[in-house]
Symmetry: C2
Subunit: 526 residues, 2 copies
């Protein structure tokens, strides 16, 4: 029940750089490998703590929104540097709290710091503000006014840490990085499954804010094992937006709370996705065994706890593919899942679908362990039962034996919203099924050809989003540089003197950014 | 009760280019000048009509979304040409139905067709799709995939026509133009106050769609004097977004309906705005009379029925300004308002604030007539009564006598969301009140210096939006080219062969558009 880091963890929320004097019930993280609680105990934040954190964030907004982008870039890089410098202890603690393997967590640390640096680069480049300038024309009838628009931050943003990425989708993850980048103070509600990792990262952010001379209110970290703190944050009048990654039920509850406010606010919730995969006939015939191995590697990755895990696979029956897939499953080790709740729901869900199970891996062991499972059904049965399209979080996938391309297209047309859809095929397959891509692009945020969906690049072209219920808002992405746009709104300035304008909008283009100048894209001043 | 156009109007909804056989209760437009009903009678659409219109729109989506942008541009220009060619009859009918003066309606026709052409230009230029390309790097560990993203349309969009702009915010207004531009079929729920104008414009759109060889389902026009058709449209599973301009109550009702759907959808509702004006001391002293005349012209424009009417004016007491403003009001004619309901609510609202009335214009006459009214109060009373910040639609404004700049700043900090905020001042005034602009930009979509808010430019830099309750979604604009982004979502394509990619994403950049290529903005192929 003790860890090497115990002395450094305090188990208390962090509000604008200070620790609160009040607090609620206490809770523990758990070691999923053995199911035992981890020290220290964590004190849930109180409603008074929520008030303090939000008030500090609201106070910090004006100053944080109006510092130069380059200053915010330095802040993001300082957080990234802090994370890299603490990699060893972050990985140790995260491994203890999540049972995710060290190599995976090593990669996740690198991803987390590189995400922060990606946004720092976006700020240094500067064009993200989307400056649009229309100069005055006093000779026009009526006279044309000078009008300039750019994106501005929203205000305090609440970020809910996700269980399955204790670093990259948590305290200093993509939501926090993109909200900071746009100039918004952030209040993180830590995920209770990795409180120690959260506290370590929270300290890094607080330290970076202090070093950068930012007001403490730009960042707070609140702990809570229940729902009270999250609900109070989402309902607080000074909170302007919410980002969440988690279950469908949790995401929808936050959406409903936000929509019912006197002043509704946007919620960017990434919820459930089953990430359909379509294996086309020629590819299935030509490389069925390789596809089976690739698919298996993808759906068990991280214990099947990726948002982009391929959970539905549509293919015609082909023995080489089928035999290879079943054999891979049979030889799969068991996985420790993130929490007791996730492990319980996983077992229950697989049990409910027990009649479809055709192969299983090594039996589950101690702690929050799960047995890999392959489920199979036929196209008609799948189409008749909507519940089969729902996400089962953990190491299982559902293979749907289709009678042919027509049935696959029919299934594609009936899909709900997902993060990704994957097509595995030859170029000829693609030509033979031209409609498939056009159908799929209306259902998902990312269409993948001949790769597996579990690799999520963090760059300028990634869309990690998709229509409801994959996310609350299919007009957005939570990964990649376009995530910054979620926390912005355009503002026009009419007739302002040059000295009163943001540098992004001044005639001389002191920031040297791309701008739309009287309808023409320009990188320099005209 | 008859008009010269009577023979051309059928009083029936238009569904995918055809008229429905079913229908509900009938209603009439009215002539606001005399309060009398206008022929013909209009038949409300039935729920079966809603089903037909939405089904046709859903069917048309794939084809409309995937034609070249240049084809959609031709469609928009054909509508614009049709509107210009029918200007005389549109103006005659709109004048009959709204009592808006001929010169104003003449301008509105020009604005409506130029809006359509603005979006045609956006399509021809093509960069609006926001193409972002990251090319593969097989040498990286792990290998970097080819990833490309662009904006895609959402699907069928429902547009509610507004009462106060029978052309520019109605059947072929900015919402319809921007939704079409992005590739979305549109179903318009006509505003019942100008059904004849709506039918004429609907016919122009239907004709243009037919000429362009588009599926009929790209456009339908439904009549209803009640709320049944609108509610059914917003709740229909195949509808993907909603645009509305009207009252706060109406907009919020649509927001709530959309948020409570099994699959929530975005609602872009422009609702109420009081458009605060701050007159700073030096300008007030130097040009008080001129400011009074300008303000008067702005708040009575169109009978005070502009969304951007300045309804709150903050200033210190200055006799020249005050006397000029009161004198202008006393010499104001009465105005016919758009509907009996608007006229009734206006009279009631002014009556409720009767103790604040300091000047009034010519008494109201027949029909839906309204008397111009000036209301005045002091800063402390204003700050103590939240209801005074609410919009009163019609020719009145509330002048708030402030004790000085501090009270103005206090009032600014307490503002809700508005479309615009205006500062009238000298450069020295601006320097003396630096905080004011920074406060105001967090409250509105457009900050104006030394002009009045009622002129709304339609161009690339306009933001006609603002935080709730001015709109449902402060991250958007309903006027100008940026309105197109409301009806889009980003989609990533990973590993697709060149031939399967949209031209916007192909290596050779056949559309010659601006793209973000491996992080660098480029207009040509690399």
């Amino acid at each position: 029940m003790t860890t090497a880091l115990n002395g450094e963890l305090h188990g208390i929320s962090l509000i604008a750089g200070s620790v609160p004097s009040s607090g609620g019930a206490s809770f523990h993280g758990f070691n999923p490998s053995n199911g035992r609680p981890l020290d220290p105990a964590y004190t849930s934040a109180s409603i008074a703590d929520v008030e303090s954190a939000v008030a500090a964030a609201a106070d910090a907004f004006d100053s944080f929104a109006n510092i130069a982008g380059s200053k915010r870039a330095m802040f993001l890089r300082a957080i990234a540097d802090g994370i890299d410098a603490s990699a060893a202890e972050l990985i140790e603690r995260a491994n203890l709290e999540t049972a995710l393997p060290i190599p995976r967590l090593t990669g996740e640390v690198a991803r987390t710091s590189s995400q922060l640096r990606l946004f720092a680069g976006v700020l240094d480049e500067g064009s993200w503000v989307t400056a649009r300038i229309e100069t005055a024309d006093p000779t026009r009838t009526p006279p044309k006014p000078d009008l300039r628009s750019m994106l501005r931050p929203l205000g305090p943003v609440v970020v809910f840490g996700a269980s399955n990425f204790p670093l990259a989708f948590s305290v200093a993850g993509g939501d926090t990085a993109s909200a900071f980048a746009a100039g918004n103070p952030v209040i993180v509600k830590a995920h209770p499954a990795h409180p120690g990792t959260s506290e370590l990262v929270g300290n890094i952010i607080s330290h970076a804010a202090k070093q950068a001379g930012l007001p403490g209110g730009v960042f707070s970290l609140l702990f809570d094992s229940g729902h009270q703190v999250g609900a109070a944050l989402v309902q607080h009048p000074e909170v302007k937006a919410v980002a969440f990654t988690g279950s469908f039920r949790g995401g929808r509850a936050l959406m409903d709370l936000a929509a019912q406010r006197e002043v509704p606010i946007p919620v960017y919730a990434e919820m459930g996705s089953t990430n359909p995969v379509f294996i086309l006939p020629r590819a299935l015939a030509e490389r069925g065994e390789a596809l089976a191995k690739g698919l298996h590697g993808s759906f068990i990755l991280g214990g099947g706890q990726f948002c982009t895990k391929p959970g539905l696979v549509f293919a015609s029956e082909a023995p080489p593919f089928l035999n290879a897939l079943r054999a891979s499953v049979v030889s799969s080790p068991a996985f420790s899942l993130l929490t007791e709740g996730i492990a319980t729901i996983f077992s229950k869900s697989v049990e409910d679908r027990g009649s479809m199970q055709t192969a299983k891996g090594t039996a589950a062991g101690e702690g929050f362990s799960a047995q890999v499972s392959l489920l199979e059904t036929d196209g008609a049965s799948f189409l008749a039962d909507h519940s089969l399209a729902e996400e089962v979080f953990g190491p299982t996938t559902l293979l749907i034996h289709c009678t042919g391309l027509d049935q696959m297209l029919h299934a594609a047309r009936n899909l709900g919203g997902h993060l990704t859809a994957t097509v595995l095929g030859t170029d000829q397959d693609l030509a033979d099924s031209a409609d498939l891509l056009r159908i799929l692009e209306t259902k998902v945020g990312r269409v993948i050809f001949n790769a597996f969906p579990t690799g999520v690049e963090v760059n300028h072209a990634m869309v990690h989003g998709g229509p409801y219920p994959a996310t609350s808002d299919g007009r957005s992405t939570s990964v990649g540089s376009q995530a910054i746009f979620r926390f912005t709104r355009p503002v026009s300035y009419q007739g302002l003197p040059q000295t009163a304008l943001h540098p992004a909008l001044q005639d001389s283009n002191p920031l040297g950014i791309l701008r739309l100048w009287n309808g023409a894209w320009q990188m320099t001043s005209p």
